[in-house]
Amino acid sequence: MAIHKYDVVIVGAGGAGMRAALESGQRARTAVLTKLYPTRSHTGAAQGGMCAALANVEDDNWEWHTFDTIKGGDYLVDQDAAEVMCKEAIDAVLDLEKMGLPFNRTPQGRIDQRRFGGHTRNHGEAAVRRSCYAADRTGHMILQTLYQNCIKQGIEFYDEWYVLDVLLDEGRAVGVVAYELATGEIHTFHAKSIVFATGGFGKVFKTTSNAHTLTGDGMAIAYRAGLPLEDMEFYQFHPTGLAGLGVLLTEGARGEGGILRNAGGERFMERYAPTIKDLAPRDMVARAMVQEVREGRGAGPDKDYVYLDLTHLPAEQVESKLPDITEFSRTYLGVDPITELVPVFPTAHYAMGGVPTDVETRVLANNADVVPGLYAAGEVACVSVHGANRLGTNSLLDINVFGRRAGIAAAEYANEVDHAPLPESPEQRTRDMLENLLTGDGSEQVWQIRKEMQETMDMNAQVYRTETTLKQALTDVEQLKERFRNVSVQDKGSRYNTDLLETVELGFLLDLAEVLVVSALARKESRGGHAREDYQVRDDVNFMRHTMAFAETDADGRDFIRLDYKPVSVTRYEPMERKY
């Protein structure tokens, strides 16, 4: 058994993890554990931009940004957190620029900004240019820039190490257990503080913009350790995924002037959001698209998608500001956006929910207590700055602002305390789990279970939901969990056993799918990304509160999910109806 001792251990090397590492590395002995090479994290897929009220191209201020974030999140946003994020946004962007990020520039040589969905001037008057961007590879540039600065600082990385468990001792986090992909060895990391930055779990759905590796490990690990998951029913579907594939076309395409059209060529968003039309928040646009298809105005042989129209934009603008998505469309659909309409349909994109934290990124054990030594930032966490629906560009912002805060907080805590003792045989749980999977000779196959889970989630828990569909999803997921006990891993080796890890990841996904569905069933209202056809209006009296889901075992030893609720923090903005 190998034990590694550090002050701070960061799990995940996406934007949030590396931003944290840059802070923590300066203050305390830090290790970053990541299941992917850092530059392969999915932050690199982010395209459109990162919002901050720099006011480089037009009048803007962080309070408007805060308002947009809260309204965009359908008032489920914790307003104190949103204020922190939007205020610190400006420095977050400037910091990245100073670290070397090559933002696009204005004619004056300043950071250029463009429009993005839901971002408005003066509380909803008109779309504002707030998103700072580097062509349509902003996330790529953020990820590269952060990694480059980690190299500059000599941050210690453990690449291709999978964290599979978090060690808690009397409620305090004391370490993690990790699996080294190259050798199959299990290691314990003993730390004073731990930051989770493991990203999202888009792979519970079939059609998704997320990477194959976004399997919600961090959330599931915390959840299995008895910690709650917040607002898991709020999952964002991005309007413009390449139809049938889910590969994302940034909202920046509409920011640059792209238009959504139905089979009849109609600009249908004019009917749904008369003021800002195609730049309405994602949940509204996604619902409008599904509505169009349901009402028979979809395009294509099966009338199951709509079009993104960029043909009226100058070719140079499309090629220079949106080069990557132009190429995706050409490569994967054989459609040239400069002359043709691109088939698009909503794709599972972003988890608003996750591991609950306060604005200092400390993980909450319940509505009142934090877990000492445990921090979370990025998509894995729920601060909650995104509420019921995240605005485009606010996630790259989130990972930078709260990633930074997590790095500082974790290091400062580590510098105040001593290592707490590790629990006895810290690796036992992990060893047992892996041993079970490796020696099991069941007949169930991983891919089959995963496929069925993704299909039922796409069918029953997607853009629109009802009691019936959600119950169906729940039954399916529970059966799949049962079948998962009989799963077999073919690769019994110890070297690069990705077969084994895909199985572990599927286990995580099944847990999260269940939590998502259970939380969604209980929320009998429609709000943001959670649209219940049987409860079509927002119900602020009963549901203006966060869902907290706990894994518990009843007296008979049966596992169940206990739901609790946490109040929303409201500072300045009273809930209003959301109109654009």
Binding site: K152, I155, D159, E160
Partner: protein
């Protein structure tokens, strides 16, 4: 795992925009191009005269060469060509040996043979051009 990269802390001293410095690999790179350029004229000219202009190799014999090397112009031409081509070719082969000879030892020996052969050939050629006696019989 990737170990901590061993990097000296970045040097933030102002750096000269234009830096000089002797560098063998760079100089050899430049030499290959410069010599190549001159060789185009020398070698192609040589081949053209020898092989294509009236009758080609068929007319070459002692007398022909004797006639040519009595002029300092052709002496100079052939000498330059000899030196440049040998140096250019030797340097080229040096790089090639570096590419394919894996072990340091093979590399050393192959290069040793190459340099010896080239040096000998250059010397011999130079000697012939300078000490050539057209009246030899």
């Amino acid at each position: 795992m990737s170990a901590t990269p061993d990097l000296a802390m970045p040097n933030t001293r102002p750096t000269p925009r234009r830096r000089q410095g002797v560098n063998f690999e760079k100089n050899s790179w430049i030499f290959m191009r410069a010599s190549g350029l001159i060789l185009v004229i020398l070698v192609l000219g040589h081949l053209f005269i020898m092989n294509i202009l009236d009758g080609g190799v068929q007319r070459i014999n002692f007398a022909f060469v004797a006639g040519r090397w009595s002029s300092p112009f052709w002496q100079f031409w052939d000498l330059t060509m000899l030196w440049l081509a040998m140096l250019h070719g030797t340097n080229g082969l040096r790089v090639i040996i570096g590419d394919y000879a894996k072990s340091g030892k093979t590399r050393f020996w192959l290069r040793g043979i190459l340099y010896t052969a080239s040096a000998a050939t250059i010397l011999l050629g130079t000697l012939v051009i300078f000490t050539f006696d057209p009246n030899l019989s």
